[in-house]
Amino acid sequence: MKKISSLLLLIMISITASSQQEVEMADTMRSEGKIYVVVAIMLVVLAGIVAYLVSIDRKASRLEKKLDELGKR
């Protein structure tokens, strides 16, 4: 009897173990649509940094223009 119960236990464990083969991913987060919050935040950060880089780029252009005028004088 003890042997049978331990065998049953072993089978049960192996069944639960095999059902856990599915790798856990953030599926709930995706199905709830919360992943879009992360996407939006990262896009805003990226957009902010790029906008800042563009403004520095323009500033460098203005500086070059001013220097060209100074050089001609």
Binding site: M25, V39, L67
Partner: protein, 226 residues
């Protein structure tokens, strides 16, 4: 902002990286789970760094071939931007390692190699800062730059493959073997690499123009005082 199509391309690719990197399907693997997406952001840092260092060493060689101060400025600016990418690569790698390997610093050969090559490039700027004569600085740092680049290649790409490293593609296997199995990651990974390379070039180019303006001011002052 003339001829800025590549800047726009860089931004488009990076926006795509964020959206595609977070929303598209990735392989389901144990231990790394969802953090596999960090590949889209961590590895392009290294590709960006190597690309910027490659441009830098190219201009260092160009300087040694014909001594134009302009080439030295370009070489140092690209090395500067590359160093930023390298530091970001190390930090992002440490965060990822803490999650998947259990601690931020594992003494992994690739991790150590990356740290050493970053230090070698840091020494490039120490060398530059310690020399006042512009010609001497340009010549010595150009020679050192070639040494630094030559040291970086085995430290990052060769030694980790010869020993066992926890990075994928190490221990005798060709790089990206693990991801070759899953072509789902390529459509995001390659655009991400190009996007970050272009952004790095953009940042370096802006810094370069500011440095060139500074040099021009010095020239104008010199002419005025003649």
């Amino acid at each position: 902002m003339k001829n800025s199509w590549w800047k726009i391309l860089s931004v488009v690719l990076l926006i795509y990286t964020v959206i595609g990197g977070l929303l598209l399907e990735v392989p389901r693997l144990v231990i790394i789970h969802e953090s596999i997406r960090a590949l889209y952001f961590h590895v392009p840092m290294w590709f960006g760094m190597v690309f910027l260092f490659l441009v830098s060493v190219g201009y260092s060689i160009a300087y040694l071939r014909n001594h134009q101060q302009r080439f030295d400025t370009i070489a140092s600016t690209f090395a500067h931007a590359g160093l930023v990418f390298g530091i970001l690569g190390i930090i992002t790698g440490m965060i990822w390692a803490n999650y998947t390997w259990g601690s931020p610093w594992h003494g992994d050969p690739k991790q150590n190699g990356a740290a050493i090559s970053t230090l070698i490039y840091l020494a490039y700027f120490i060398l530059r800062g310690s020399l006042d004569n512009p010609e001497q600085r340009a010549r010595l740092s150009a020679v050192y730059s070639i040494f630094a680049f030559a040291a970086m290649i085995p430290l990052i790409f060769i030694i980790p493959r010869m020993t066992s490293s926890m990075h994928p593609g190490s221990g005798g296997n060709p790089g990206f073997n693990m991801y070759d199995l899953d072509s789902r990651m390529r459509p995001v990974f390659y655009p991400a690499v190009v996007g970050w390379m272009l952004l790095g070039t953009w940042i370096a180019s802006v810094r370069l123009r500011i440095l060139q303006a500074e040099e021009k001011i010095l020239d104008l002052e010199y002419e005025k005082n003649k």
